[in-house]
Symmetry: C2
Subunit: 295 residues, 2 copies
């Protein structure tokens, strides 16, 4: 077995992502000599002990990070500023700070001002997830074959970046690097806008008159069903994602909205050619995904 | 084996739905003594013979329906008026005419004026499909466990309605009856609007600058990928669906659009409570689907 990457690794927030990381680290044994899990959710610490997901379970983040050479924030991104305020004074010199947040501009905004000298920040975003949440929802293979996007900068040394990359490689993921602004735009269209749309269409359906709504639920064919799978995601996480990737998300929503109205107008006026063109572009994108083995 | 339901059944249009019906009928043997398959697509007739999907293969619809006691239109709904003009003079007295179109108001509009006296019309819509199309895409189990919505009226006798229902029951489907207007509204939100949205978001992504688009394709996580699966559907079918369910589709698009803008506004102004409420409603709808075993 390879040498453990870290001596003492602290995961803060043991939801789907954090508990999957913990399970992976426990199964492999080459991630950290000591694994610290910190979550202040009601009953979560007890559950973590029952599941035996870490060597040390803490509810207090300041305590949890003491003496750790690596800390990974896995809480919803809206909590980062307050978590950082708690842990910053206790981060050990030479420690690596990373995260799994879905937005990266906001992470830099919230973490950089409090980053102690001598601590390396390596922001990361695993492009993996399910519609389930909480410490019981995680599984050790969640990251296998998935991309993890790192947005490194002069806030983290090359050696620290390499250690974080190696953590994710051991989790089975593929590493990509990107600047934070590009990251936030790409995930806005790839993930955040689809979620906003899915939440919306469920809400629109929910507003229909009682009789129609019952029929809607009964006849939810594949189209609508796929949307509801996306829409079943965690409330706190997605509220925070929307609020912390506001600019990019609103830009993509505006573009999408223009395009949807253009297609609606073509339907109203019977412009078959325009409609066909839009359908063909959907098929083209799908074809590209299949070529790239992403479909 | 049960007595065949029909003596001579003609399927017009052997795409995904029509060829699945043909396969089901061939496998069971209790659907029709003689199965006639009619498609004027280039090369389709030859392919139908190769696949041995019918006893008789025709390219001319007028010829195909002669002497049939049942005819099912499985072509895109935009073709119904012209197909009906061809076949109406040749429909045998006492024959049953049915269809598998995704819109029902337009089907009545296009078929009723030409319906010969003594021919029973029983419109139907199997809520089943995949993103694939053409005679090779069909499979005999496509309808198992899926709903088929019939929109019967005084244009079809109870006996004719029962025979069409029995056909679908033998295909493994569950039968529901609905008036055409309700049907068109329900499918607008359950299926047509999700497809319009999926085509649109693919098109929006396709318009992004080259570099971002490549990243989008690379990182198409589950959210976007689900949308592209929907967007890979048949061009002719979906153009016709949009144009033939215009009113209901535009109404649902308008409702969705208002709701999407309201959520966008909440994101802009940081209204966390509103955002959480929308996400919770998505989860609620998902929960209802799971209770109804539709998820």
């Amino acid at each position: 077995m390879a040498e453990p990457l870290f001596n003492r690794l602290c995961l803060i927030g043991l939801g789907l992502i954090g508990s999957s990381l913990a399970r992976m680290a426990r199964e492999r044994g080459d991630i950290a000599r000591t694994l610290v899990a910190c979550d202040h959710g009601v009953g979560v610490a007890a559950r973590l002990r029952e599941l035996d997901l870490a060597d040390v379970v803490e509810v207090d983040a300041a305590e949890a990070v003491k003496g750790c050479d690596a800390v990974i924030l896995c809480t919803p991104v809206g909590s980062f500023a307050s978590v950082m305020a708690q842990i910053a004074p206790h981060l050990a010199p030479g420690a690596i700070l990373s995260d799994t947040g879905s937005t990266k501009g906001s992470v830099l905004r919230d973490l950089l001002p409090l980053l102690p000298a001598g601590v390396d920040l390596v922001p990361g975003h695993p492009m993996a997830g399910t519609e389930h949440s909480g410490p019981d929802a995680g599984f050790s293979t969640l990251f296998q074959g998935r991309y993890v996007i790192l947005t490194p900068g002069d806030y983290g040394s090359p050696a620290a970046q390499e250690k974080v990359a190696e953590l994710w490689r051991r989790a089975g993921a593929m590493i990509e690097s990107m600047d934070p602004t590009t990251h936030d735009k790409v995930v806005a269209i790839v993930s955040h806008l689809p979620h906003l749309i899915a939440f919306t269409i469920c809400s629109t359906a929910d507003d229909l008159a009682q009789e129609t709504r019952e029929q809607v639920l009964k006849f939810a064919a594949s189209g609508f069903r796929d949307f509801t799978r996306i829409a079943a995601s965690d409330v706190d996480m997605w509220r925070d994602v929307f609020l912390n990737n506001r600019e990019a998300l609103l830009e993509m929503l505006a573009r999408f909205s223009e395009d949807a109205h253009a297609l609606g107008r073509a339907v109203r006026w019977g412009e078959a050619g325009f409609i066909e063109d839009r359908i063909r572009r959907g098929r083209k994108i799908r074809g590209s995904l299949i070529e790239l083995k992403q479909a």
